[in-house]
């Protein structure tokens, strides 16, 4: 059962990935991350993604505080944060998030506060969506790994 489950989970994972690719949430860079994962760094992808969320959360908080809580809107600084977010997002293949960041950055260039606010909201929404989906993905992945690792003694004997 568990062995079969592994395949099912694999299919689930692929379906989810397909959805995310189809929606334009992710692109091929996300797959490239998986290529970088090997025996020497088995958890590379999850490590990177975790770090990404960690960093991005900070950046988003900074952006929010810069845009809402301070009176002097330092668009320059926002631009720097966004550049960082763009760099990391594009590296992990978070395509839609990257695109939103670009739009946000354009708004900061024009010192367009309403635009920035709108972009920030969308960015936060997208961030949450991505985070949830990737969590889901990693969850399935984890289960799959567990399932794949689980072997019946009989099974082992047969092999």
């Amino acid at each position: 059962m568990l062995g079969l489950g592994s395949d099912l989970l694999w299919a689930d994972m692929n379906r989810l990935l397909r959805l995310l690719f189809h929606e334009g949430v992710l692109d091929e860079h996300f797959l490239q991350l998986h290529h970088l994962q090997d025996e020497s760094s088995p958890n590379f992808v999850s490590e990177v993604i975790n770090m990404y969320f960690h960093e991005s959360e900070k950046l988003l908080n900074n952006l929010r505080s810069l845009l809402i809580h301070t009176h002097t809107h330092d668009y320059n600084k926002m631009g720097i944060h966004l550049n960082q977010l763009i760099g990391s997002s594009s590296s992990i293949g978070a395509k839609r998030l990257t695109t939103l960041c670009l739009a946000f950055r354009a708004a900061t260039h024009h010192s367009n506060r309403p635009g920035c606010l709108r972009a920030l909201e969308m960015l936060e929404h997208e961030y949450c969506y991505l985070k949830n989906k990737l969590h889901e993905l990693f969850h399935i992945e984890q289960q799959r790994a567990l399932a794949a690792a689980a072997r019946y003694p009989l099974h082992n004997n047969n092999q």
């Binding site: 590379f44 550049n83 990391s88 293949g93």
Partner: protein
């Protein structure tokens, strides 16, 4: 049979003769007579050429008028008329010929007809006479029956065959003959009619083909076509304007204008803008003067913009000789004019450039002169200043010092040669009996000599200027003086005194207040001489300063030594100077107990002679006693032979004067600083003594000072930098040699580094020299490291995610990388370690990638981290390690990693010294390509 032959003959004639008389193609032959090709062929020839007839607009009425009234027109008409008449005549001649031949034929035919009729009548008569009775009686029926039948049958020949010899001479036979003849006649008449018709037709043809109007119009058309063919593409406007300058004809007018816009109007009515009026006036001028003229006019009109036309206007005269208009031809020469103007501009610029160059050369020359003059002045002023004040006030001190006359002589000549602006030879002779060292006031003597020499040079334009030194006995000296110039009474007193009392120390007895200070000073200063006082003798040395100059007129000699006097006002203007020099010299000489005289021959030269007494010590002096001499003399002393007796300074070209002077100074400094001891050359060589430096194997002690001294040399002889650089090279060579001699073979790198340290504070020229060596060693060093280890890659990136990703990729590509998080750290890392490749993020906190790259590049170029230090200081960051500023590096490839932000344009990357860029996100492929490009 005869009959048959005849009929055949007639028939033949008809067929053969006619064509030979009337060739079928009369038309073409007519044409050939006029040398006109067939019009058809004309058209063939111009078939490919499309002739646009549009641009011609002609007022035909006016054309008619023109042809009627102008001389050219009438001559043209006359020609055409003649032509036409000639053709007419020819055509009528032909027609007449034809008519003649036709009428002749007709005559022939009629004649024949007559003959036949005659014959027939005769036969009938005969027939009637002979046969009638018979026929009526015998065979009337037969005749009437036969003949009509035969007639009905028509075919005569058939019947003829039937006619037998037996029937000959019968009535029937004759009837038949008559009928036959009649038929022939009929045929003949018919032919005649045909011929006549043909004739008519030909006449018509001739009329049609060779009508002169048609032909002429063809000729005209051809000419017209030809003109069109030539003119349609030419940028040429042709026009005819009448007396009021209204256009009557124009060809190739401006395309947007219509016929009605031009014909009947003047230029001013058609165009507006500059140039229009000018052209109108020009045309009017031609019209008035009646002479053709050309002019270039630039138009600036709304219609066709700015265009330049070369316009040719020619007056048109009527038969009566009055101008009735102008022909005008304009050609668009805008491009040519533009080119021409450009050329002119360029030429002008070249001229200006040349003028500037000349000016510059002049300035350079003037600067050189000024510097030369300055130098001269510096020497002179020193020498003139003190005596002036001293002599003037009358309380001059004379100082007694030991000096070497040869050295003084040489130095004076040398100084003069250095500031020489003429091609003169300067020479000095010192006779052997002149002591090596004498005691006297060397400063004053030198002043006198310098003054006399500079005077001599001033008034000498070619040849030589020189000084002779030789010893004379006291009496001889006095006699010489007596002979040379008239003396003042005080001078005589002096002479007498000197004659009797040779030691000049006693002079003050005779010359009271004047000489007394001399003696007292002498004793006061002469601390060294005092030991030798007992052994002193006096020697009189005569000094001749001669030249081959303009000389002095005899009349001027008495006033020569008076103050502010020159030979003439002209001389003052020409040669300048105050006229004070000689007076002072004379006074100085006299103060020292001698005399100054002159002998001169105008245009041949002058010789100034002064004889002075000097004390000589018999005991050989040590050179360390000469410390009272001026520094300069000290220099001389080191490289001069004490017994040198001849000096010569050959003329040099103006340009090399300066540098030769420089080199001599360089030499002096060098010899002085290095402690170069005299070589025993009898003539002081001015060639660069580099061999001496090299040969000086054991110069270890002086090495350090040598390095320090070099900039001084290069500064002091700016113009002879080439030579000073040589020195430096030599220095290095000698250092190298020294190092190797000591067996420190492996310290070469050390040495270069050490040198670099030294040189860093010195002139840039030197620095470059050594930097080259420094680079070589560092490259060598880096090559070593490269061959032994993997390429070192530095990643400069602030984003942790990107670092992780890139690092991981690099790992898979088989490279390990160093990572720093901002530009400042990157600069530090590059300073401390030599990398083979730097991957640089552009947007980073603290210091961005562009700035860091710039700093790294500036280090690579200058070998100094100063710029980086300054930048870090400004950012309040820790300073760089001083110890680590090792040898300069080769250019590190720096690849930018950009996220395509606006502030990260590729141009900016390149401008800041980056080699290429990789756009983010980085992929395997991009990274691999990058590594392959820069690490292969």
């Amino acid at each position: 049979m005869v009959c048959e032959k005849e009929s055949e003959c007639i028939e033949d004639m008809e067929v053969e003769i006619l064509p030979s008389m009337w060739p079928e193609d009369i038309g073409s032959e007519v044409g050939k007579q006029f040398n006109i090709e067939k019009p058809g062929r004309d058209q063939d020839m111009l078939e490919d050429v499309t002739i646009i007839e549009e641009p011609t607009i002609a007022d035909f009425k006016r054309l008619m008028e023109l042809t009627n009234f102008t001389e050219k027109g009438s001559s043209q008409l006359a020609y055409l008329m003649k032509h036409w008449e000639y053709k007419q005549a020819n055509a009528s001649r032909l027609l007449r010929e034809e008519l003649d031949s036709l009428s002749k034929q007709r005559q022939d035919v009629e004649l024949r007809k007559m003959e036949i009729l005659e014959e027939h009548r005769f036969e009938e008569e005969r027939y009637g006479g002979d046969k009638r009775p018979v026929s009526i009686l015998e065979d009337v029926y037969d005749i009437w029956q036969d003949v009509p039948r035969r007639k009905n049958k028509v075919v005569v020949q058939n019947k003829r065959i039937e006619i037998d010899a037996a029937e000959y001479d019968t009535v029937k036979y004759w009837k038949q003959r008559a009928l036959h003849s009649e038929k022939l006649l009929e045929a003949s008449i018919q032919r005649e009619q045909i011929l006549q018709e043909k004739l008519q037709e030909r006449i018509k043809n001739i009329e049609r083909q060779s009508s002169p109007v048609e032909e002429l119009s063809q000729i005209l058309k051809r000419a017209d076509n030809f003109l069109h063919f030539i003119l349609q593409n030419a940028p040429v406007v042709i026009g005819h304007q009448d007396k009021e300058l209204r256009y009557r004809f124009i060809y190739n007018h401006f395309p947007s204008l219509q016929e009605e816009d031009i014909i009947g109007k003047t230029d001013i009515e058609i165009f507006t803008g500059s140039g229009v009026k000018e052209s109108q006036e020009f045309k009017r001028e031609v019209l008035e003067k009646g002479l053709p003229a050309k002019r270039e006019i630039t138009f600036e009109t709304e219609l066709f913009g700015s265009k330049t036309f070369l316009i040719y206007v020619e007056p048109v005269f009527s038969k009566a000789g009055e101008t009735i208009g102008i022909n005008y031809m304009g050609m668009d020469v805008t491009d040519q004019v533009r080119k021409r103007e450009r050329m002119a501009k360029i030429r002008e610029e070249i001229a200006v450039q040349k003028a500037k160059e000349t000016e510059l050369n002049k300035t350079i020359h003037i600067t050189e002169e000024t510097m030369r003059a300055k130098q001269m002045l510096a020497t002179m002023s020193h020498e003139i200043r003190s005596p002036l004040s001293g002599v003037e006030s009358g309380v001059m001190k004379l100082e007694a010092t030991k000096f070497r006359p040869r050295e003084v002589l040489k130095h004076v000549l040398q100084t003069a040669a250095a500031s020489l602006q003429k091609i003169l030879t300067l020479e000095g002779h010192v006779s052997d009996d002149v002591p090596i060292e004498v005691v006297g006031d060397v400063l004053r003597i030198r002043q006198i000599l310098t003054n006399l020499i500079s005077n001599a040079i001033k008034f000498t334009h070619e040849g030589k200027v020189g000084i002779n030194l030789y010893v004379v006995s006291g009496t001889q000296a006095n006699e010489d003086r007596c002979l040379s110039t008239p003396q003042s009474s005080s001078d005589r007193n002096l002479l007498d005194a000197q004659r009797h009392d040779h030691p000049p120390s006693q002079n003050h007895a005779f010359h009271g207040e004047c000489i007394s200070p001399v003696k007292s000073e002498c004793s006061a200063n002469g601390d060294t001489e005092e030991h030798h006082h007992s052994t002193e003798t006096t020697v009189w040395i005569r000094c001749d300063v001669y030249d081959t100059g303009i000389g002095i007129p005899e009349t001027a000699i008495p006033t020569l030594f008076k103050r502010y006097m020159q030979v003439g006002a002209d001389h003052t203007r020409k040669y300048g100077g105050t006229g004070l020099g000689l007076a002072i010299c004379k006074q100085l000489v006299e103060l020292m107990g001698g005399d100054l005289t002159v002998s001169s021959k105008e245009h041949h030269g002058s010789t100034f002679t002064f004889i002075l007494p000097y004390k000589v010590s018999i005991i050989e002096e040590n050179s360390d006693d000469t410390d009272e001499l001026s520094d300069m003399e000290n220099d001389e002393g080191t490289c001069d032979d004490t017994t040198e007796s001849f000096f010569q300074f050959q003329p040099r070209t103006l340009g090399s004067l300066f540098s030769s002077n420089g080199s001599s100074r360089t030499q002096k400094l060098l010899t002085h600083k290095i402690g170069y001891t005299s070589s025993n050359t009898s003539e002081c060589s001015f060639s660069f003594p580099s061999h001496d430096i090299i040969s000086k194997g054991t110069c270890s002690v002086q090495d350090s000072s040598l390095v320090v001294d070099t900039p001084e040399i290069s500064e002091s002889s700016a113009s002879s930098s080439g030579q000073s650089r040589e020195t430096n090279i030599e220095n290095v060579v000698s250092r190298d040699k020294y190092c190797q001699d000591k067996g420190i073979a492996d310290s070469s790198k050390h040495m270069v580094a050490a040198l670099e340290m030294d040189i860093a504070t010195k002139s840039s020229e030197l620095q470059q020299k050594f930097k080259v060596q420094g680079n070589v060693t560092s490259i060598f060093a880096s090559e070593l490291t490269k061959s032994t280890s993997k390429p070192k890659i530095l990643l400069v990136e602030d984003s942790k995610i990107n670092i992780m990703v890139t690092q991981s990729m690099m790992k898979q590509l088989g490279h390990s990388i160093d990572v720093v998080n901002n530009g400042a750290e990157a600069v530090r890392a590059v300073q401390q370690c030599s990398y083979d490749l730097v991957l640089m993020d552009v947007c980073m906190p603290i210091m961005n990638g562009l700035q860091a790259t710039k700093l790294i590049r500036s280090f690579e170029e200058s070998g100094k981290w100063d710029a980086a230090r300054k930048a870090l200081m400004e950012l309040n960051l820790a300073d760089l390690d001083y110890e680590c500023s090792g040898p300069s590096k080769k250019r590190i490839p720096i690849v930018a990693m950009t996220a395509n932000a606006l502030s990260e344009s590729a141009e900016e990357c390149f401008a800041n010294g980056m080699d290429s860029f990789v756009s983010k996100p980085v992929t395997f492929q991009k990274l691999k390509e990058c590594l392959e490009q820069y690490l292969s």
